[in-house]
């Protein structure tokens, strides 16, 4: 019993980070119907920023979110302006964005491997390998901090969406783009800001995963599928859904990893993604036919 609880604790302690990783993609999909396959490439990019901040400036990876968040926000605005601003009224927009963001992820992957090679990297702050003990259970210290930071950021995001004028506008655009436009929301501007917010969240996750996992430029393929599994389970576009999906799947993956070995744990996500797409494509919380 203790063992199972311990496994679940380990899973849950990663859940917060997965939730942060997927929140940006969910937000972007919700507002713009962009399936951003480059989201994980953004995370890897931010992880490299955190890595070099750690190596060159000795900056703590958790602290480096003060760099990655604004840098990635601006990068997101740029990407939106260049790639999506003109396409948004195209009838095949959703499908186009899948392929365009896939192309973008290849560009980022290629550039990162050109400049930083394919070497496996991770930041190594003191807490990355330590553990915290609570009675009979233990927490890997790094995962604990990362999850706490993730939850703080997610609560911040929730507050932003719930209580600010910007948040009202974003939620209005998510619910009904045309109606939002009618009542005076500048949907283009809101889309751009949301895309920036989404990539900023990718930036923050990059800082956090830089000490949780080893990464290399091609790692984004694996992560993007994991993120897709999380948000498809929760229902594309639903933030609460992606949060629940993250905790559920990461606990499940921890269980699989404990019983069958760590190399099998990614298969939990892929298989889950596959099964959810087949049997409940709208996810646990999504509306039906959301992802057509």
């Amino acid at each position: 019993m203790t063992q199972i609880s311990q496994i679940i604790i380990l899973g849950l302690s990663l859940g917060g980070v997965f939730a942060l990783m997927s929140s940006g993609m969910t937000l972007i999909f919700g507002v713009m119907r962009i399936v951003n396959l480059a989201h994980a490439a953004f995370i890897v990019m931010a992880a490299y920023i955190a890595y070099w901040a750690f190596k060159l400036l000795g900056m703590d990876p958790i602290l480096s979110i003060v760099i990655t968040i604004p840098v990635m926000y601006l990068f997101g605005l740029l990407v939106y302006r260049v790639l999506f601003a003109k396409l948004i009224d195209n009838p095949r927009f959703v499908e186009l964005t899948v392929l365009i963001t896939f192309g973008l992820s290849l560009v980022i992957e290629g550039l990162l491997s050109y400049f930083f090679t394919g070497i496996y990297r991770s930041t190594t702050p003191r807490y990355a390998t330590d553990t915290l003990n609570f009675g009979p259970f233990y927490f890997p210290e790094g995962q604990f901090y990362a999850t706490v930071v993730s939850i703080i950021l997610l609560v911040g995001l929730w507050a932003l969406l719930r209580y600010t004028r910007l948040g009202y506008a974003i939620r209005a655009t998510t619910q009904n783009r045309t109606a939002a436009k009618t009542v005076g929301v500048n949907v283009h501007q809101i889309s751009m800001i949301t895309f920036g917010l989404g990539t900023a969240l990718a930036g923050a996750s990059g800082s956090l995963v830089s000490f949780l996992f080893t990464f290399f430029p091609a790692k984004h393929m694996e992560w993007v599928t994991i993120i897709l599994a999380l948000i498809v389970l929760g229902g594309m576009g639903s933030l609460i859904g992606s949060l629940v999906g993250s905790f559920l799947l990461s606990a499940l993956a921890a269980y699989v990893s404990f019983n069958f070995g760590p190399t099998w744990s990614p298969i939990t996500f892929y298989l889950a993604l596959f099964l959810i797409l087949l049997f409940r494509p709208q996810g646990l919380f999504g509306k039906k036919m959301e992802l057509q």
Binding site: E95, V98, I100, L104, L106, Y114, W264, Y270, L277, L278
Partner: protein, 341 residues
């Protein structure tokens, strides 16, 4: 092959042009092209030193075949698959394992690899084609990652390290020639199939699906069956190409066959040439491989090559969605010898 294309009366979905003069020039062009391709290896046999060109040509034939094959699903039906090299890997694993453990030549296995791909396509298609649009694309990405984990663990096939295949035992000078012909035949076969499907009732149904699936369903097209069939058929030639390619590489490893880059190439070639046309994937593959060679020669790094692929993909999608053939056709500038419809 070129004669066949014209002489077999297609189950035409469009009115056949009575203008025979127009098609005669096309017959002559295609006949000359095919003949010169048939004779090209003689230059190697006689003069030697053409191995690089033979390699480049057979590589192009392989991608012509795979892109044309992908086009049946991605172009005609409008269902974009980023996981099509699952078929490629299936063919390669079948041929590679049979060669290593039974000593059967992959040339003999190639048709069987096509059948295996068809079977896999039917099974996987029945499942994944319950989804559509971006959900389908995502499911194909998941499929490829799923397959690579399984292959990484498969001991018989050497797991992640892979298997070395025995060589065919030909001299360096002639070693590429059998592959050249095999891929040439495969490419011709695929183009022929693609043409026949384009002009059949089945192909018309597929194009109806790509236009508007609901309306197609209402009009009596059995959309689900058609989509699954299109998925499976478009896997056949990719599977056959895999069986030949593994023998050519003499190495079987998950990373070589299940890299998403291969699927990306199929997509990109079809987009460049013009999706949904017969000639598009052919032209697209030729253009893509030529520019790719140029980039590798100029930039000399595979990392920048990935960047170039990505940039090309974005640019084509944003500014050139109809591809070479589609754009020329829209402007009524399509030269006759490229009008294979």
């Amino acid at each position: 092959m070129s004669d066949q294309i014209i002489s077999i009366s297609p189950v035409s979905a469009e009115p056949v042009s009575p203008d025979t003069k127009k098609s005669r020039g096309r017959i002559i062009f295609l006949a000359i092209l095919f003949l010169s391709l048939l004779l090209f290896p003689l230059t190697q046999a006689i003069f030697g030193g053409m191995n690089y060109w033979l390699h480049l040509m057979l590589y192009t034939f392989m991608y012509i075949s795979m892109a044309s094959s992908w086009n049946i699903l991605g172009g005609y039906t409008g269902y974009v698959s980023l996981g099509h090299n699952v078929f490629f890997a299936a063919g390669a694993y079948l041929a590679g394992i049979l060669l290593v453990y039974q000593g059967i030549s992959p040339f003999l296995i190639t048709p069987v690899a096509g059948l295996l791909a068809l079977a896999i396509g039917l099974i996987v298609g029945l499942i994944t084609l319950r989804t559509s649009g971006s959900a389908f694309i995502i499911s194909t990405v998941a499929l490829i990652l799923l397959a690579s984990i399984v292959m990484d663990k498969w001991e018989l096939a050497g797991g992640a390290n892979g298997l070395s295949l025995p060589l065919m035992g030909l001299k360096m000078a002639t070693a590429k020639i059998p592959f050249y012909y095999a891929f040439l035949i495969l490419a011709a076969l695929t183009i022929f199939m693609s043409y026949r499907i384009r002009h059949s009732k089945f192909g018309l149904g597929l194009r109806a699906i790509s236009q508007d699936e609901t309306k197609a369903e209402v009009a009596g097209v059995p959309t689900h069956i058609y989509k699954v069939l299109a998925f499976a058929i478009s896997g056949i030639f990719v599977g056959m190409a895999g069986a030949l390619w593994v023998y050519y590489l003499t190495y079987l490893r998950p990373g070589l066959f299940l890299s998403i880059g291969i699927a990306t190439h199929m997509v990109l070639m079809t987009l460049i040439g013009g999706k949904g046309t017969v000639a598009g994937p052919v032209i697209g593959a030729a253009i893509f491989i030529a520019t790719n060679e140029f980039f590798v020669a100029q930039l000399g790094s595979s990392e920048l090559n990935i960047v170039a692929t990505g940039i090309m993909m974005i640019l084509v999608l944003m500014f050139f969605p109809d591809g070479v053939i589609g754009t020329l056709k829209n402007r009524n500038r399509l030269p006759r010898f490229l009008d294979w419809e």
